[in-house]
Symmetry: D2
Subunit: 341 residues, 4 copies
């Protein structure tokens, strides 16, 4: 068994991660940290759940585990990882702190100095469908953000083939409220969310834009920009992106490209032509489903893509990266911990 520790186990991502790891055949939970609920157990906070003890960050013994997952806010993650880093320890970081290889870009999008630039060379962007081989050679995996996971799986094949035009990518994304985290705020108050739809940080202002552009540009071999409209929608989990592109290729040709690209992928499913992605197809699973649609106007194609933001968009993909790092079956623990049929 591989001993793992989870930092930040009582946020939505942490809870989901613990849920998945509990069903993983090769992972053994060594510690779970929390600040708000230190000293309690999971069953204190979620009555009926397992009696897993929760400790503070200080009490966790990172030296006794083979891998850690960090589900703490950005900046706190890099401080923590810097402190406990040792050669051989595998780190899957679910924050944004290691997603930019370049500390200047990190500062540009997150507004703070990177605190562990010396570790950036040991980190890799953990989108398995595009960087699977690279991931195995690194110690720190930067688990992708939820919006970028959905958008990059939808756009990656186009970027790789050189089909994306700069300034011609529009990502209209809708997310459930768990994406905003478990901290109380007026924005996440039930009455404010219910029967409402709320666009926010439109254009190129959301920090996930930086992450999407970075990876798309890497795949394309040249600079690409995207326009992004995130929207808060009255549901608990899930992201649906409707993405508009002009590629010079017809929808059926693009559909073939997607089908070919993802033919062997266990967690990406290209829907039949004409079938759009729905959240119901991915809820509680590690899947991403993708649809390709002719928009009927002068070469415009819409790509619809859906993920569960807490699974493929966070905890599930983290476990997928964990499996890759340890040479396990990439789907271990991810087939049955879900609502998938």
């Amino acid at each position: 068994m591989i001993k793992v520790g989870v930092y930040g186990a009582t946020g939505y991502t942490g809870i989901e991660l613990v849920r998945i790891l509990r069903g993983h055949p090769q992972a053994e939970l060594a510690f779970l940290t929390t600040e708000p609920f230190e000293g309690q157990s999971f069953s204190d906070i979620f009555p009926g759940a397992a009696e897993l003890q929760l400790c503070s960050t200080g009490q966790a013994d990172a030296g006794a585990v083979d891998a850690i997952f960090t589900c703490v806010p950005h900046t706190i993650a890099m401080e923590l990882i810097k402190r406990i880093y040792r050669p051989g320890l595998k780190v899957i970081d679910l924050s944004a702190d290691f997603r930019f290889a370049n500390p200047g870009q990190y500062k540009q999008w997150y507004g703070v100095e990177h605190l562990a630039p010396e570790l950036l060379s040991k980190s890799v962007y953990g989108l398995p469908e595009f960087f699977r081989e690279e991931i195995t050679g690194y110690e720190i995996v930067a688990n992708p953000g939820c919006y970028p996971t959905c958008a990059l799986l939808a756009l990656g094949p186009l970027a790789e083939e050189g089909l994306l035009q700069d300034s011609e990518v529009i990502i209209d994304a809708k997310t459930g409220v768990s994406g905003a985290g478990r901290k109380a705020s007026l924005n996440t108050h039930y009455v404010e969310v219910n029967e409402n739809l709320v666009p926010y940080k439109m254009g190129r202002t959301h920090s996930h834009v930086g992450e999407m552009e970075l990876i798309l540009s890497r795949l394309a071999g040249r600079e690409l920009k995207v326009a992004f409209t995130p929207q808060l929608v009255p549901l608990s989990r899930g992201i649906l992106s409707t993405i508009y592109v002009r590629t010079g290729q017809s929808a059926p040709r693009l559909w073939e490209l997607y089908s070919r690209t993802y033919a062997e992928e266990p967690f990406v499913k290209v829907l039949e032509q004409g079938t759009p992605a729905q959240l119901a197809y991915v809820r509680y699973t590690n899947d991403c489903v993708i649809g390709v649609h002719d928009m009927g106007t002068d070469g415009l194609v819409m790509i619809s893509a859906a993920v569960d933001n807490l699974v493929k968009g966070a905890a599930g993909q983290a476990v997928q990266n964990f499996n890759i790092l340890f040479g396990l079956d990439e789907t271990a623990g991810l087939r049955t911990a879900s609502g998938r049929i």
Copy 2:
């Protein structure tokens, strides 16, 4: 008092219309028709509501009223209106049957022959913000569709100014489930809708595309096409459209255009720069709110617009048209019948 009859009073649009008309200072309800609940009263169907008697279409005496509202399905509306038409009777038709002046276009988008082409010349498209003066001279007002109302208020100023490029208009629209009508279907089943997001009829396949293109082209003085992605979202009422355009003008310039265009409109509100439209701003009101957003990529601008699909998108706008037809204050009955502060 003006005597009015409502055909189709027990669907979502009909119910909303009755609610508004009950609070209208100059309207008097003469009859309400229904097929499923004939012989019952409103208070039988909605216990606690007023005891308004419901009759069948056959029992309604259209000869005894000054105006009728038709909230019946398309094709049934034109059959009905053809049968009861008489000079002097004012008709506000909430179906699609009189939205196309050209019966060929009607057939193209609705797949059926128009049954009353001789009445088309007596009808006018009832979007008051753009056709207020025309409306007064007609007997039949084609009340706009819900999606078109939202999209046309958002795009009309650009079309009028000649700022829209063909094939450069993308309308990503999200609607609540009342837009699908009150008939039971698997698509509207609570469990299918809840925690789901469902795109449908993407591209140029939804019949509302025809209506939007027709009116935009009329305003622009030349042919325009739009790409449209309607999506079903887990909420009861409301439409939020995020619309992407390239106009050669900056967002602040466009914001000024919108502000100027709608400065005197009682029901269209241009939000401050940077503030996006939300459903909460329009729920239960006859308002449309509009935001203008720089997307940060090469001239792309996003227009966000929201309406309550049952009020401004249907029954409220119908009453606005009724007020225009009868020379009343255009806001009569529409200020307090709502959640507006």
Copy 3:
């Protein structure tokens, strides 16, 4: 016009009150206070709303109005009212501070000393259906709590007739989240509420139990106790109570009693025998609907009752009390400011 001031205008109750007062034919808003949004206007907070200026409590000139509504938390309400009280000023207090004539009982249920016991003799419990005549003679109306409004309208006729047995009243109540106020907390976080049902403060621990028992005992002329199970349900507004009683009378007999008691009431509707109360019947209205049901076991009867917690359970009833205080038609401003047909 009657000049009114609203203290606490930006919580859910305050917003609803402003909405109703804006449509009231005889009320004129003189000031609206807020702490969090001082210096802004309603349209800053709720874009698209009216441009009503908001001021701090200190800036409000209570001397210049005929009536005030206090939508501030308990304890803050009595401090405020004590400070601005003057003979002739009409006060409708939506907090709990004047609901108990006896300061000892107030302390028992709210855990704090009453700060204005000298004003208690000037206050009256504002449930119009039972205390309409009394209300006219007082200067301070204690507007009932939301749960008590629903429960007392359902149980009042039984208490008056001496049909309630002590320890035989069980109130199982479900409320929407607006009842918990607009302050952010984990309990009201969308993800915690959605797809969940949460009982809380069961038994005789919720402070509304004190209020219900006080009024029921007054109506009955003897001490009565109730068992109460409040539950948080994933909806924005509304309370449904299912109330179990044994009265020695059959359901049809009780139905007659309710029908007789409420025959002339504009806002209480007794549903036909066998029809249970639903939130849909009262949403956005000042109505309470009541159903009476034989439970089939040895004399047990269930009373179902529903109100909109923000209207009849708060702001609407406050305006009803305002109307009574000023000798207006009791329904003024309450007929059309709603979703009622």
Copy 4:
């Protein structure tokens, strides 16, 4: 591997069952039937799901499997089981058809004659927590209804100890909409359910009352009656019951009884004193959580209990019964197919 067939695999219960069986270590799906989607595969109906072929009832080869699950409507189930019954075949019937040993009682509650009375002696009521030993000896397991599962786990310990008084049991139950099945109807329309709460079949009219009374009476050794108020609530899945009893015992004494009774049960969890059951504790799990609460009035105790209606209330419990019938670990396939931590 044990070969199993599922009849009625495309309703909510069937889908959930297929999901669980797919993760079961000893079950192998041999066939799945459906009427509406015959000839298609799961991935046709639920894009992204496994490509499991669906056949009609007639095409299914019941002779080639070791066990069948019947998720078809009552009356259809008994017809089907009668037709395919053979000694040795294990049948887990999720309909109501074999829940009453006495065909007269079946007719009383379901209004139709039993079509296979000769098989009743081969059937057993499949509530493992109370009938585990008996179940192993039978060929047909009548899987309990969703409401009865929740109520019987909450009341069973009291019935066994002789603590229940007739006519003193009140079950106030709230259910998500999946409990109403996947057939479209106005009752399950999103707009009718959302922001609404709907009691129905109150008293002793719901057929689940018959089932609850039958089993409670069996456990108690004498006739017991219950009062029941089912309510439809805007959520997809889950049942919360708040149950009122007078037993002559204090809440702490009852809490000890529950703790003792369920100490070894893998799927029933007695919450700490004062903690009420919530749906969040059981969603997507096979658990039932139970809370015990002193109501503060003369011996009244409230038992709160929650289950996921599709898992412990249907498909999960069916697999639990399957495990018992085949002598497997009772929790096989039920630990990780869920959202449980």
